[in-house]
């Protein structure tokens, strides 16, 4: 089959205030190809897409469309759309209050004598939906349709606008298996029509189910482009996670004995616990144990710990602390029972930007104490100073608003906040993300020290080495459920990657 290249991106570079978000990245899309774009956090996937769709201007590189010699400059999302590049985002960008037909044709409704011709619009919509085998009435209100259907309507809109390149940004996150299959059917139909699809996703199984090629990015650089058939799962996972420079020596010596906890009552025991965002899971964590949660981004690790902590309301299942059943449906409950949670999204769920470093540090402890027992000034100052010192937080002072600190130091402030509450169980969701090597090492040391003193820790990280150095027990997750547990001698990078990758030889 003759392959025609419809999109060629070469040497794409994008800088954000001196930080290289993309460096010399190439990407090629062929006609009628479903091409997966994969990478962990900070890989540059979304930046690449935003450059392609005109949201960001690029700092270097060229984009060519349709096999033409002349490079193009895409200055806005509207221009991208006009050039035949359409995007369907995870948050459906349609209007729920309008009908299906209207969403398909908004701003380009067919008119007769200057007035919108509803009959024609509904007819054309019906035909379009039928041609893509989407079974929904054009007059139905979009908000009444399921997310899966809404997504397909968004795709239908793109198709009707003659797109040649269709970007699907994590379309399957909220879909169940049947809906995913339906989506794939639609994608295959588009493939036959010659549309090139860029499929951004975390779900390994899906990549192997429907994609022809895979491009892997890591830390803003291109790792490689591979035909799916020639890339076994294990290799893919290895390429995505790569190898990080790190300071092994100091850490190795600290971690000697892996405590065995057979026969002990676990500190925390969850059975069949689930929420809106995660399938039922069961796990046990012992006192003084560091339990790692690994898996690719989107595998559900954050959702799992949020459910334990009560940040997401649990829908079913039971939770026991020290053998006694408890009900935790709000963070304060969890805090009072000795839990602490460092959220993944520092900016959204972590820092209070305009409050001072001191206030950010003491706020969780204060919330535990309640509104009528305010901490004395001196106590607050001492606590803040203690942790600024302990964690080496670089700040001009404790009264400085936390927004003027660098990302890494902001992270330390949030860690200090939770340590101050003297928890029995500390949940750390990507605590070292965006932090320099030196600080990463400090935090890893700290985790071990805390576990030594009897604190139970749940540690989520995308970097396997980090977890290998600190965890005595690892839970592997994939596609929103636990797929394996490793301990003792099984705790090797190799074994872990195998479990993450899953199914042996099958590739698609």
């Amino acid at each position: 089959m003759e392959e025609t290249i419809i999109l060629s991106m070469r040497g794409i570079t994008k800088l954000f205030q001196g930080v290289k978000a993309l460096q010399n990245v190439d990407f090629t899309l062929r006609k009628g190809e479903i091409h997966a774009l994969m990478g962990e956090n900070g890989a540059g996937k979304s930046t690449l897409i935003k450059v392609l769709t005109g949201v960001y201007p690029m700092d270097g590189g060229e984009i060519r469309l349709g096999g033409k010699e002349q490079a193009v400059t895409i200055r806005s999302p509207q221009e991208a759309q006009r050039r035949g590049i359409s995007t369907v985002y995870q948050e459906i960008n349609l209007c729920p209050n309008l009908s299906v037909a209207e969403n398909l044709f908004i701003d380009r409704e067919p008119r007769r004598f200057g007035m919108i011709d509803w009959k024609k619009m509904n007819q054309r919509s019906g035909a379009l939906l039928k041609s893509l085998d989407i079974g929904v009435e054009p007059t139905r209100q979009l908000g009444d349709c399921s997310i899966a259907v809404q997504q397909m309507i968004a795709i239908a809109r793109a198709v009707d606008m003659q797109c040649r390149v269709l970007i699907l940004d994590e379309p399957t996150s909220s879909l169940d298996d049947d809906e995913v299959e339906k989506l794939f059917q639609l994608m295959r139909r588009l493939k036959e029509q010659g549309v090139g699809i860029i499929f951004v996703t975390h779900f390994l199984e899906q990549v192997y189910a429907v994609c022809d090629r895979i491009t892997v990015l890591r830390n803003g650089e291109l790792v490689g482009e591979y035909p799916t058939a020639e890339l076994p799962r294990l290799k893919l996972v290895a390429k995505m996670m790569g190898k990080d420079f790190d300071d092994l020596a100091e850490i190795e010596s600290l971690k000697e004995v892996k405590k065995e906890h057979e026969g002990e009552t676990p500190f925390l025991e969850a059975e069949g616990l689930s929420s809106r965002y995660i399938k039922p899971f069961s796990l046990q964590i012992h006192k003084g144990e560091v339990m790692g949660f690994t898996g690719l981004l989107g595998s559900g690790r954050s959702e799992l710990v949020r459910t334990v902590y009560g940040a997401d309301k649990p829908v079913a299942g039971t939770l026991k602390l020290n053998g006694r059943p408890v009900r935790i449906d709000a963070p304060l409950n969890a805090m009072m029972k000795g839990m602490a949670y460092l959220p993944e999204d520092r900016k959204r769920d972590g820092i209070f930007a305009d409050l001072s470093v001191r206030e950010n540090i003491i706020i969780a402890l204060q919330a535990k104490r309640g509104p009528f027992r305010p901490m004395k000034r001196k106590e607050m100052q001492e606590s803040a100073d203690r942790y600024i010192d302990l964690l080496q937080i670089k700040t001009a002072g404790r009264e400085i608003p936390v927004r003027s600190l660098s990302g890494g130091n902001q992270q330390k402030v949030v860690i200090a906040r939770w340590l101050l509450t003297d928890p029995e169980f500390l949940i750390l969701d990507e605590p070292t993300r965006g932090i320099d090597i030196g600080t990463k090492t400090e935090i890893q040391k700290l985790i071990l020290q805390l576990a030594e003193k009897g604190m139970s820790i749940a540690f989520i990280s995308s970097e396997i080495e980090e977890m290998l150095r600190t965890c005595s027990h690892m839970v592997v997750m994939r596609d929103r459920q636990i797929v394996g547990e490793l301990t003792g001698g099984d705790l090797t990078q190799d074994k872990i990657m195998h479990v993450i990758a899953g199914g042996e030889a099958e590739n698609g």
């Binding site: 209007c95 701003d107 409704e109």
Partner: protein
């Protein structure tokens, strides 16, 4: 393929509104039959007294569909009346000039407020609250005393009766036809124009899109800022026009005129099914909202003993009821998703 008719929330809300009006009016007709409530003129008076409000409420519905709000409409109406009265009585201009002036004032408010809201992203409530105070103050700046209109053309417009084939026969057997004023015709024409615009023009649909989800509208390539700006500008024009119709009723300009009119307009829209969160609204529903307000007013006036403040209270309670109802429906929808 079977066509399942779903009772969408908007139809549900509209049904509640229309039903409420019919209920109220029928009750009035029964209870106050002896006081003339059942006469056709009574029904037509609803339109006569509220012609201006109908037009203003249409404008407000437009703005609320985009998810915004305008609480300056009452004070702009007062300003329009005062400015027109002043222009005619003190400066000696004609009625047509006064009309043009009214439209200009309305447009000016619309343009300034629209710019600040659409292009500087400032909350509509605060801007239009400032507009409310600006308008009230300016009215007093023009004149602190009441100005009654003596301009003949104007008064001719105000008093011109259009007789209808329906009416009542009084005790002496003389047929007294019911009548309306030209303001009613203008109001109904505006209503129809707005309804058509909302349903059959791209601009109208854009208003709904932007109110439904501003983010989505942006991603779909709609020029959100410009659309919002036009919405407020058009609203301003309608306030100017509606204000003039209102003025034709009062035939005078005075400070404190039309105080609280914004409340009536917002209540009429909300009761008529316009969602405060935006994206949903229908001028026909708004019309019924206005009629309900008129009915409450008539009922209380006919009853005679209750203070007129009850009208405000009843209307606010209804508004509260509908706001809570909307919020309950919305949260139920969120839970089921």
């Amino acid at each position: 393929m079977k066509k399942k008719k779903q009772l969408s929330d908007t139809s549900f809300l509209l049904m509640v509104t229309v039903g409420l009006f019919i209920l109220m009016y029928a009750a009035g007709m029964i209870v106050f039959a002896d006081k003339g409530f059942a006469k056709p003129q009574m029904f037509l008076n609803l339109f006569i007294s509220n012609a201006g409000l109908i037009v203003i409420s249409c404008g407000l519905t437009l703005v609320m569909i985009t998810g915004g709000i305008d609480i300056s409409v009452g004070s702009v109406t007062g300003l329009v009346a005062m400015a027109s009265a002043y222009q005619m009585e003190v400066n000696g201009s004609g009625a047509y000039t006064a009309l043009a002036l009214s439209l200009l004032i309305g447009l000016a408010f619309g343009v300034v407020q629209g710019y600040l809201i659409a292009y500087l992203d400032i909350q509509p409530f605060i801007i239009t609250l400032a507009g409310l105070f600006f308008g009230r103050g300016m009215t007093a700046v023009i004149s602190k005393e009441m100005i009654s209109v003596k301009n003949e053309t104007f008064l001719a417009w105000a008093k011109y009766k259009i007789y209808l084939p329906v009416g009542t026969t009084n005790k002496r057997g003389v047929f007294q036809p019911a009548y309306i004023y030209p303001t009613v015709i203008v109001a109904l024409l505006v209503l129809i124009a707005v309804a058509v615009m909302l349903k059959y023009t791209r601009f109208g649909r854009r208003l709904y899109a932007l109110g439904g989800s501003q983010q989505s509208a942006l991603m779909m390539g709609l020029n959100v800022r410009r659309t919002k700006f036009y919405a407020y500008t058009l609203n301003g024009f309608l306030v100017g026009l509606g204000g003039f119709l209102f003025f034709l009723n009062s035939c005078a300009g005075f400070v404190e005129q039309a105080k609280g009119l914004e409340m009536d307009a917002i209540s009429a829209s909300v009761i008529g099914g316009t969602l405060l969160s935006g994206g949903v609204g229908n001028p026909v529903g708004t019309l019924f909202g206005v009629l309900i307000k008129g009915a409450i007013s008539s009922l209380i006036t006919t009853q005679g003993t209750l203070s007129s403040w009850w009208v405000r209270i009843a209307l606010s309670s209804l508004l509260c009821f509908f706001i809570v109802l909307q919020s309950v429906i919305a949260s139920r929808k969120k839970k089921s998703m």
